[in-house]
């Protein structure tokens, strides 16, 4: 029973990892940019939520109504003012600029909020749980988070394949010059993609803040979890990313059960193992 419980908890946290990954893989898919500051933006969203909750006195989950649009606007502006200027054949500029952003966000948060750990309190829902099997109970909050992850990924899938904006994303991803010839403004499309990515980051950030303690330094680890989920799942596949997140979450849960020091290590080792035996990931879509 204990083991089933461990695995179930791992699956649920996997939903959160998949959400870290979804924004990352969206950006990579549309403009071949890996955003090194992705994890720090998740933490930034958590702090934005903290400010909203403390000023308005509302439930953290309600704060999403504000945090999501704020982060989306930040994403659009960031893309139009800085990141668009780094895109091109050279790999170095986008990498170094997002790396610089990561350092800037971390230290700005440190300066504004100190290094103290914070947490958002979502109220009685945090301790509520249902028993699905004797001895195995699911927390309502982790369950809700997992459901939200599935919904977010389903929505992204829909945006990508059922809407005009998604068609523009795919066209730009396939062939930038031709997409431009068809009248698409790449700079605007990239801005929208980053806005969407940071909207997902906002949800991930708020869920993270409700679930665990956070401080300005934890961003890079979230980037790495998201990245591992993308690679395990296979590039270009959204549902693969969810599977990747779940595999990572379960590996970490099992590692932690064996020895608390092995929680993160187990996740990384499973990632490296999959990289060794199946570098294209488990469910690749693009080659």
């Amino acid at each position: 029973m204990e083991w089933i419980n461990t695995i179930v908890q791992g699956i649920l946290i996997g939903g959160l990892y998949a959400m870290f990954a979804a924004g990352l893989s969206l950006i990579f898919g549309v403009m071949r940019l890996v955003n090194i500051a992705h994890g720090d933006l998740i933490v930034l969203a958590a702090y934005v939520a903290l400010v909203v909750v403390e000023t308005l006195g509302i439930n953290p989950l309600m704060s999403l109504l504000l945090v999501v649009p704020v982060m989306a606007v930040i994403g659009y502006v960031l893309q139009r003012t800085i990141l668009n200027r780094t895109l091109g054949d050279d790999l170095l500029p986008p990498l170094l600029v997002t790396f610089g952003l990561s350092v800037i966000i971390q230290n700005a948060l440190l300066e504004l909020f100190t290094a103290d750990s914070r947490k958002l309190n979502a109220g009685p829902i945090e301790t509520a749980s249902i028993e699905i099997l004797p001895g195995v109970s699911l927390g309502i909050l982790p369950l809700a988070q997992f459901v939200m992850a599935v919904v977010v990924i389903a929505l992204m899938q829909m945006v990508f394949y059922r809407t005009g904006m998604g068609r523009a994303f795919r066209a730009t991803s396939d062939d930038q010059p031709v997409a431009q010839l068809m009248g698409l403004d790449n700079r605007h499309i990239f801005g929208l993609a980053m806005a969407l990515s940071l909207a997902i980051v906002a949800i991930a950030g708020v869920l993270l803040a409700v679930r665990a303690n956070f401080d300005p330094s934890i961003g890079p680890a979230r980037l790495i979890f998201g990245f591992e989920a993308v690679i395990i799942g296979g590039l270009g596949s959204m549902w693969g990313t969810l599977a990747g997140g779940v595999i990572l979450g379960v590996s970490q849960a099992i590692g932690a059960k064996i020895d608390p020091g092995w929680q993160l290590l187990a996740g990384h080792l499973v990632f490296l193992f999959i990289l060794a035996v199946r570098p294209q990931g488990l469910f690749p879509k693009v080659q």
Partner: protein
């Protein structure tokens, strides 16, 4: 194939000046223990280690196109090899430095096998995962203090040299010698056929491949050499500190973020870039370090501004404007005099 009457010349007038000036500077620095203050010696040694780390990262990213954000993996590995050998095998810490280089070169081969499967940007994050794995493994080594780290025992420290002054001199000279060796090795590598292959890969990987350049092998050679050099510097840095812990040895900020900012500000893909960048970095640090987090924030802003406004860095700007080149790396065809 040698065309009659022609030869390939490496040096230019400015590179002959550069090399002469460089030789004088090394001589002057070698005598520093006799004229400099203790605190200056420490600062110089630290500058040497950053020039070396930045030059190695520049070789990796600027020449081989392998943009790593995980070089702290090898800084930490070198440090832990030094502490492990010195504490358990009683080896004189100074002699563990070459061992650290050798072992890291061997470790780098299977690591490269794994992370070379990731392309471009994803390679960068892959190197970071490897560094995290090293850090977490180091934290599991109980006899080396686990997560909280360990200090070098006094008996080991006195084995380096009897007096503190001699120890500091020795470490200073090793730092200078390692830096000169690493820079010399990079110059030799870039002048060899590997250097030509690297330049070709940097300019166009597909074209290089179609001209018979073994891209993967060339990159592997650079990755392994860089790992060895970085680990030796890592061992030296922690020999100066006399204490190691997973968080300091595998620190992404100190051993990768600073190094990347140095290279970007100085100029990526030029040997002079890391040297210029380190000087700027230390000038900024000596004047602004009291600001703490604000200092790092400003460093990030400067690096982004340089990347957007002058992507070739300070030295790249000067070199293009005035045709300067301190190292004899260019290849020009000249008519033979005879």
């Amino acid at each position: 194939m040698h065309a009659p009457g022609f030869r390939v010349a490496h040096s230019t007038r400015s590179s002959r000046f550069g090399m002469a000036g460089f030789a004088l500077l090394v001589l002057a620095l070698a005598t520093a223990p006799f004229w400099a203050e203790r605190s200056d010696l420490r600062l110089f040694a630290e500058i040497f280690t950053y020039v070396a780390l930045a030059s190695l990262w520049n070789l990796l990213a600027g020449y081989a196109g392998l943009v790593s954000v995980g070089q702290q993996a090898y800084v930490g590995l070198g440090a832990y090899i030094l502490f492990g050998l010195a504490i358990f095998a009683g080896v004189n810490p100074v002699w563990t430095i070459p061992v650290a280089g050798l072992v890291s070169a061997i470790v780098a081969i299977p690591v490269a096998f794994l992370i070379f499967r990731l392309r471009g940007h994803y390679f960068a994050i892959g190197t970071w995962v490897v560094a995290e794995v090293f850090r977490l493994l180091a934290a599991q080594i109980g006899p080396l203090g686990g997560g909280s780290g360990i200090s070098l025992p006094v008996s080991t420290v006195t084995a380096i040299a009897e007096t503190r002054q001699m120890r500091e001199f020795l470490i200073y000279w090793i730092a200078l010698a390692l830096l000169v060796a690493i820079l010399g090795l990079i110059v030799m590598l870039l002048r060899s056929r590997y250097g030509l292959a690297l330049t070709a890969i940097r300019d166009n990987e597909t074209a290089a491949l179609s001209n018979g350049v073994n891209v993967i092998r060339t990159k592997l050679v650079v990755y392994v050499i860089t790992a060895a050099g970085t680990a030796m510097i890592g061992a030296l840095i922690f020999l100066q500190k006399l204490r190691v812990s997973p968080d300091t040895a595998f620190s992404v900020n100190e051993w990768t973020a600073f190094v990347i900012f140095i290279v970007v500000i100085g100029g990526v893909g030029r040997l002079e870039g890391p040297i210029v960048g380190t000087i700027v970095f230390f000038l900024l640090r000596e004047t602004l370090a009291d600001l703490g987090a604000m200092y790092l924030l400003m460093l990030g802003v400067v690096a982004i501004a340089v990347m957007l406004k002058a992507p070739k860095g300070i030295w790249g700007y000067l070199a293009e404007r005035f045709g300067w080149e301190l190292f004899p790396l260019a290849r020009r065809v000249e008519q033979r005099k005879d």
